[in-house]
Symmetry: C2
Subunit: 319 residues, 2 copies
């Protein structure tokens, strides 16, 4: 298996030019004073459809050939990947089918349909979504794009940290959330190329530390779906591509509790005036926990997204 | 009375260089599609201490002479002006006294003290805060800086729209929140100079439409303290300087209800991932209400701040 390289991230950035937002890098004097480092927050919660996932999806779909474009794209997801694929397909004028469980929140179904995708429902208890997706792909001539374990997806995600380091200059440390590893592996490609001395860390929920176990044992560890408020990191295992890069380019993987995520979420709301979804709080919560080790240094934080149901968000803020 | 000019805004911008954040201008595809115009959001909720007020306070304090610096600054406020003065005084190494009511929220007192200011409490029912402030100013040789009706304050506030239009190019319409008129009058100076054809509007709470009455009758109208969730716009009357500019340079003043503010607040959280305080929602709520009149055009929106108690914010989001 050939792993993608930083050159592929550069090519992805060219494809995203004029389509993805170049999201702002924000600072916080309060964060710097409280935790004793210089933080640079790359705000992918301000990305189109509210998360970095747009980058990978748009990059992958941009590479479709004429036949693939005609057939369109199919994906299974009830999260940010669904909306990222739906929006990218609309922008590139191709059909999109998103396979979602029948009991997915109505708001997510509506949002995905709002971007023009066809939503196909399945029964989580009686149907196999992968088999269903494959059958539909074959019947309709559609190309399946997975949420993270795909070279074009992960190199698209890597463009966020490319932009970050181009704007800030070299960093000493970089913290990135970790679910399936698309964002972390792409970020690592960019960091290794642009700031070779920068330490790169993944941060995952304590309840689902398969990434940490995988890095430490040197092989992909599979776990049960973890119980955590970080719904974007409820993955059971890393991908082949993403782990291949993570194993080589990532220095360590930390874990944080849900309570630490809520603390970070409150900080973002109260002091930085940003809505960040629980998964998007992973990187900063990890950096706070590691504040002794990063004291006085330049620290990049990738805020991955801001898609959280408002009533749930309000409940978490008041908790 | 000589009104300040756009040249004073340019001078203020030079003083703020390297001290105030150049806040981002964000776009929202969803807002553009839903309300049929091209919106440019100038995000002063990301300004230092969370609101545009830092600009005016820092500009005013930067102009103090050596004697004034030694004596320091005094202000009465329990809102954003208090924190703006406190932070600016700390940055310029001068003493600051903020006069606040005894029953001000502990969080606001703590935040102001956190910026290094001395807080002097008074009893709202038995003491006259203006008399107290004047007496303290005289006793301690401090200079009083009012929250809006001061040339250096309002021209400092004008730097936000200067940055906005420099970044976006000419706009057709500009919506700005209106309390005492510091932000609106400063914004109007910048808009008139940089985009002469741009219509400039103030937006105030329906419960406190003294600005609208003042513009329409041609003289400053005084009202009772209005009951509204927009606590930054609970002013009773415009200032002499601010009204002088508003009367000349502002095209119209609209009002919105608290319910419209909450709708805008929810939109900012849900779609733009931003925490905006109720007062900061005035401009966009006004633009939404006027969406027929601005269809297809380029519209600037000034988001004034994001300082809202988290539990209150959570309650408003869930309301």
């Amino acid at each position: 298996m050939q792993l993608p390289t930083y050159d592929d991230v550069i090519a992805a950035a060219a494809r995203l030019q004029g389509h993805a937002h170049r999201t702002p890098v924000l600072r916080s004097t309060t964060a710097d004073a409280r935790w004793g480092a210089s933080f640079f927050f790359k705000c992918e919660n301000f990305q189109r459809m509210g998360a970095f996932k747009f980058r990978g999806a748009f990059n992958a779909l941009s590479k479709f050939d004429a036949t693939q474009r005609k057939g369109g794209v199919i994906a299974f997801s009830s999260g940010n990947h669904a909306q990222a694929i739906a929006l990218s397909a609309r922008l590139l004028s191709m059909p999109a089918v998103i396979v979602m469980p029948k009991d997915a929140p109505a708001a997510k179904v509506a949002a995905t349909q709002g971007y023009g995708a066809e939503v196909v429902m399945y029964d989580r208890f009686t149907e196999d979504r992968e088999a269903l997706t494959k059958r539909l792909a074959q019947e309709r001539g559609m190309t399946m794009i997975p949420p993270y374990d795909h070279p074009d997806v992960l190199t698209g995600q890597g463009t966020a940290v490319k932009e970050l380091i181009e704007e800030t200059g070299p960093l000493d440390h970089l913290f990135v959330c970790l679910g399936g590893g698309g964002l972390l592996s792409g970020s690592a490609l960019s960091a290794r190329a642009l700031a070779p001395d920068c330490k790169v860390y993944g941060v995952e929920p304590e309840a689902g530390n398969d990434g940490q176990q995988s890095l430490r044992t040197g092989k992909i560890v599979r776990i049960e779906t973890p119980k955590t408020i970080a719904d974007g990191a409820q993955t059971q295992y890393l991908g082949e591509y993403t782990f291949g890069i993570i194993r080589r380019d990532v220095d360590d993987i930390f874990t944080v509790t849900d309570a630490q995520l809520v603390d970070a979420m409150r900080f973002f709301a109260e002091r930085m005036k940003m809505v960040v979804e629980p998964t998007g709080c992973l990187a900063f919560a990890g950096a706070i926990a590691a504040s002794k080790a990063i004291a006085g240094q330049r620290v990049g934080i990738v805020i991955s997204g801001g898609n959280v149901d408002l009533s749930r968000y309000a409940a978490l803020l008041s908790s």
